[in-house]
Symmetry: C2
């Protein structure tokens, strides 16, 4: 996942591959877990606040990133996996927040989570799990 990868990705989604966008994506990629907005802003000081706002919007709209979590007025953003694209943006995977190290990770479902609500049409299911992650449990 180097700069060239993101450059191509941006082009494939009809977005211009500007320096800011590539820096942002490389940053988010290196962060490994879903990145809180405040951390993104701190890291991207060269970028105007409004530009960052609009950049996140357009990357989200084109299915390159998604808002993984929102809690206590803090939003966490993550780069989309292969399962996301512009047309079909589904996130049935689980967002796990570790209350110990404060990280948010996108977990892949090991088992199929079945949710049924008789009479209702279900379009999207998001599951937020809070607990203590493997690393923190060990320590």
């Amino acid at each position: 996942m180097d700069a060239q990868y993101f450059k191509d990705l941006l082009h494939s989604r009809k977005l211009k591959a500007t320096g800011h966008r590539i820096n942002l994506l490389v940053l988010m990629d290196q962060y490994k877990s879903a990145m809180p907005y405040s951390s993104i802003q701190e890291a991207m000081t060269s970028m105007d606040r409004v530009t960052l706002y609009r950049t996140l919007e357009s990357l989200k709209e084109k299915g390159i990133i998604h808002k993984a979590f929102q809690e206590n007025n803090e939003s966490y953003y993550a780069i989309c996996g292969a399962e996301c694209d512009t047309h079909d943006h589904h996130h049935d995977h689980i967002h796990f927040k570790c209350t110990s190290c404060e990280t948010v990770t996108c977990q892949t479902t090991t088992q199929k989570v079945q949710v049924t609500l008789p009479g209702n049409e279900i379009h999207k299911v998001s599951i937020h799990v809070e607990g203590v992650c493997q690393t923190c449990v060990a320590n």
Copy 2:
């Protein structure tokens, strides 16, 4: 669920039963589905904005209401059911948002939703479902 009920409830949670608080709780109760913050504010104009903010905080803290949903920077609040109390505030029930009528309701799980993430300690599970509710499907 009349005013007296909420007055007693507030007292039982060591909160003063002020007019504002009772009005708010009666309002939220009558709303039936989880109430968006903007609607609460519109309805409670007699109350100072800061007081409303602090009131929601304290009611939340004492397990009388909970934030059912947060999306697009809009928070939805709902009165807690019998399963909530100050000490053990668990919400394994499902929050369902109808994209047609925009209402958010707290659904009771008909089946047990089992989430397992090997190695991790799971403390809280929140499930957000988006779709079309029974009433809207019929129309």
